[in-house]
Symmetry: C2
Subunit: 166 residues, 2 copies
C-alpha cells in the first residue's frame, strides 16, 4: 500500500481503504487498551463500568453523581447500580454537599484509591510503551486525531474538566 508515502508527502488521499484501516485500528487498539484493566477486574466482582466510575472519581474528587452521569453518558439507574456496589465494598464514599445538600460528592476511600492505582498502572504501562514505541510526533498526532473524532460535547468534557471543577 502507498498509504504511508502519501501521508509523508503531506497529502491526504483519503481512500475508503485508508479510512477502513483507521476504523480497524481503533477497533483493535481499543481491545488492547481495555484488556489489562479487564484482567484485574475479572478477579473482583467488577466490570468496566466500575473502572470508569473509579477513574473519574479519582481524577475529579468530590464530583457529584450528576456530573458523573453526564461524563459517562449512562442512565442514573445504571450508574447507581455500579456506585452502590462500590459504596458497599468501601471503595467510594459519598459526602452530602455543604452548599447544596441534595448533592453527593464522591471520593475514593484508601481502598478505592488502591484499586484505582492498580488499574491505572496497568493501563498507563501500555499507554507509555505505545508512546515510547511511536515517538513524540506520533503521540501528538494521536491525540489530535482522537480529539477531532470526539463529539463536541464530549470534547468539552475531555478538555474542560479542570476549568469546570469537575
Amino acid at each position: 500500500m502507498a498509504e504511508t508515502s502519501t501521508a509523508s508527502e503531506g497529502l491526504l488521499f483519503l481512500t475508503d481503504e485508508q479510512l477502513r484501516k483507521g476504523i480497524e485500528a481503533m477497533f483493535f487498539a481499543y481491545r488492547g487498551f481495555t484488556s489489562d484493566p479487564d484482567r484485574i477486574l475479572d478477579g473482583l466482582d467488577y466490570g468496566r463500568a466500575h473502572h470508569r466510575a473509579i477513574h473519574f472519581v479519582h481524577r475529579s474528587p468530590g464530583t457529584t453523581v450528576g456530573n458523573l452521569l453526564s461524563i459517562l453518558g449512562v442512565t442514573k439507574q445504571s450508574l447507581n447500580r455500579v456506585l452502590r456496589t462500590l459504596f458497599d465494598d468501601g471503595m467510594v464514599e459519598a459526602r452530602v454537599g455543604s452548599r447544596d445538600k441534595r448533592e453527593r460528592h464522591l471520593h475514593l476511600t484508601d481502598k478505592g484509591a488502591g484499586l484505582e492505582r492498580s488499574l491505572s498502572d496497568a493501563q498507563r504501562a501500555r499507554m507509555r510503551s505505545a508512546y515510547r514505541a511511536a515517538g513524540p510526533q506520533a503521540v501528538q498526532g494521536f491525540r489530535t486525531v482522537l480529539e477531532a473524532m470526539m463529539d463536541p460535547d464530549l470534547r468539552r468534557q475531555y478538555q474542560g474538566l479542570k476549568e469546570n471543577g469537575l
Copy 2:
C-alpha cells in the same frame, strides 16, 4: 500545560498526567467513533456485535466462521447468536466450503451490503473529517500509536488479513 511543547521538542516526558490524558482521549474518542453506527443500528434490531460481524464479512468475503471467531475474540455461542439473526434477515449467507465441507464461507447479500454501506459511510465520514481536521502528519501518528497499543496477536490480525486470505 506544557504537554504540546515537550512533544514538539522531540522529547517524551511521560508524566502520569500526560498518560491519563491519553487514556481519556481513547475513552471519549471511542464513544464518538461508535456513535454514528449505533444510531443506525438502533432502528433495526441490531447492536454493535452485528456491526462487527458485518464489517469483517464485508472486508474479507468468504471468511469462515472460525476466522471470524478469532478476529472478534468472542465465543462461538455469542457469534452464532448474531450470525443466526443475520442469516434469518437475509443480510449474510453461508456457503458450504468446496475444499473442506465443514467450513461455512460467509458472504454479504445485496441487502447486507447495503446495510454495511450505510454503517461504514457514517463511520468513515467521521474518520474522514477527523483526519482532515488533524492533518496528514497527525494521521500517521495516530495509526502508529494505535498499532503500538494493540496486543501482538491482534496486531497481526490487523496487519495481515490480506496475506492470510482472511
